[in-house]
């Protein structure tokens, strides 16, 4: 007996969604121990070395340590030099510089 086209499609899609749901619900649990171990070793290193930033953007120094960037970062070479590093278009200025009008940053903006 051959299945109708509709049944085949419904079966495939249902199976796909079921697999997706299983992957999304089960994989975080299965990988939890490994994740916890990784996070704790990273936290240990961050605490030990007092690291402040992720090593994601390594082309520009204000993107490598974006939370520590100085005031003139995007125009660091001279006032008319536009930001030419690709990561500069992805990384926004740090909270300390944007915080002036930001509700959450109001308190800290008083510091600068």
């Amino acid at each position: 007996m051959t299945l109708r086209k509709s049944h085949r499609w419904l079966l495939t899609v249902s199976l796909g969604f079921f697999l997706l749901a299983v992957a999304m619900l089960a994989s975080p649990r299965i990988l939890r121990d490994r994740y916890d171990a990784r996070i704790s070793s990273q936290r240990r290193l961050v605490a030990e070395l007092e690291v402040t930033d992720l090593c994601l953007f390594t082309d520009a120094r204000y993107a490598r340590h974006l939370s520590q960037a100085d005031w003139h970062s995007p125009f660091q070479d001279n006032p008319t030099t536009l930001d030419y590093f690709p990561s500069g278009s992805m990384v926004m200025p740090p909270e300390t510089l944007r915080g002036r009008s930001h509700a959450m940053g109001e308190k800290t903006s008083q510091l600068h």
């Binding site: 419904l10 697999l19 992720l54 090593c55 953007f57 490598r64 590093f85 926004m92």
Partner: protein, 377 residues
């Protein structure tokens, strides 16, 4: 039950009708799947990296104090630490020594750092995995660095930092205080910045304000600000993620709009024939709704599954070039799946519902027209 049987028949008819136009529908499915894949990949990546960043950076110093001169970050004298220690509520104040080293051969910048709690000999270094991957003159466990006086120093790589920590340590070169000062030229009695621990973390903002009052040329950076910086960058509703997403969303809307603006002559003729053999307007609408739903559900499923594999099994390798920019060094890391039902719901609403609805509009316009007229067009 009868309703369900009727819908199954509609799906059968819709699938047969779509298989008659295999090429067109496959192209449609491919474009749609690619857009969903992009949307889902950006969403999965940003949510996971955000969670990872927030968890890791929770261990960062409570306050980092920089000195600012002429609007630029300047090295800070050790005397500033003494001033900060006098402030009530301040715990330990430590000097942080770190800086950058550009290697012209590798065309990459590395982060030099002096570990506070580990002592290293002057001729040895600990390095991150990214350093060894990219350092061109690494031979026999030695790396050569140029000192500030122009002379070259050979340093033994005695330890590799844990590969699991690459996200924070990939470009790190840890060395002794004396070696760091010899390479960077930083004078004795100065540090890059100061890290301050606070007895009551709730007082961070107050203490930062007191530091600013006591040392007007200083710039205290609070842990909360560091974490918020990363939270904002990788919030999928803002920052660069929104820029990436808006491109994909725009592409999707152009694609859906094209579909909404009209039907092909063949599709119109098909509707005319269906009406002529007795199908009602609602039957035609249901049929076309199922055609849209079949395409969008299949594309959603394929796109999301592909994005899941891309982000969590291949570490979002397609985004590597975007994140890397002109950088040579990029950490190798695995992300932890952390997408919840709300985020999947948003993705579903964004990717499936508009398309399924928008495809019905031109069908409705055609189905209310006289079948004879439609078939003659």
């Amino acid at each position: 039950m009868q309703w369900a049987r009727k819908q199954v028949n509609f799906i059968d008819f819709a699938l047969s009708s779509m298989l008659r136009r295999t090429g067109k529908n496959l192209a449609l499915l491919l474009v749609y799947t690619t857009i969903v894949f992009m949307l889902a990949s950006v969403m999965f990546f940003s949510i996971s990296i955000r969670n990872e960043a927030l968890s890791i950076l929770d261990a960062t110093p409570e306050i980092v104090v920089q000195r600012v001169m002429a609007g630029r970050h300047e090295i800070i004298p050790h005397g500033y630490a003494e001033e900060i220690r006098k402030i009530r509520g301040v715990g330990a104040v430590r000097s942080r020594l770190w800086g950058y080293y550009y290697h012209p051969g590798a065309e990459a910048s590395y982060t030099l750092m002096v570990p506070g709690q580990v002592s290293l000999r002057d001729d040895e270094v600990s390095v991150g995995h990214g350093v060894l991957r990219t350092w061109p003159t690494h031979q026999g466990g030695e790396i050569l660095l140029e000192k500030s006086d122009g002379r070259v120093v050979a340093l033994n790589v005695t330890q590799l930092l844990d590969a699991e920590t690459e996200l924070v340590s990939s470009d790190l070169i840890l060395m002794s205080d004396r070696t760091f000062r010899a390479i960077t030229g930083m004078p004795e009695g100065y540090a890059t910045d100061l890290s301050v621990s606070v007895r009551n973390p709730k007082e961070c903002t107050t203490i930062a304000k007191k530091i600013r009052d006591a040392l007007p040329d200083s710039r205290p950076i609070i842990k909360g600000e560091i974490r918020r910086s990363y939270a904002t960058i990788f919030d999928w509703r803002s920052g660069y993620v929104l820029v990436l997403l808006s491109g994909a969303v725009l592409a999707f809307f152009i694609f859906a709009l094209e579909k909404a603006t009209g039907l092909s002559a063949e599709e119109k003729r098909e509707i005319g024939i269906l009406k002529a053999v007795g199908w009602t307007n609602s039957d035609v609408l249901i049929l076309k709704f199922w055609e849209g739903a079949i395409i969008s559900l299949t594309a959603f499923l394929l796109g999301v599954l592909a994005a899941y594999v891309h982000v969590y099994f291949f570490s979002a390798s397609l985004f590597e070039h975007a994140l890397k920019g002109w950088g040579i060094l990029y950490p190798s890391f695995r992300l932890h799946p952390s997408v919840d039902a709300y985020q999947m719901g948003v993705l579903f609403l964004l990717a499936v519902v508009p398309y399924a609805l928008v495809t019905v509009i031109p069908v409705w316009k055609t189905s209310v027209t006289d079948p004879d007229l439609v078939m003659r067009q």
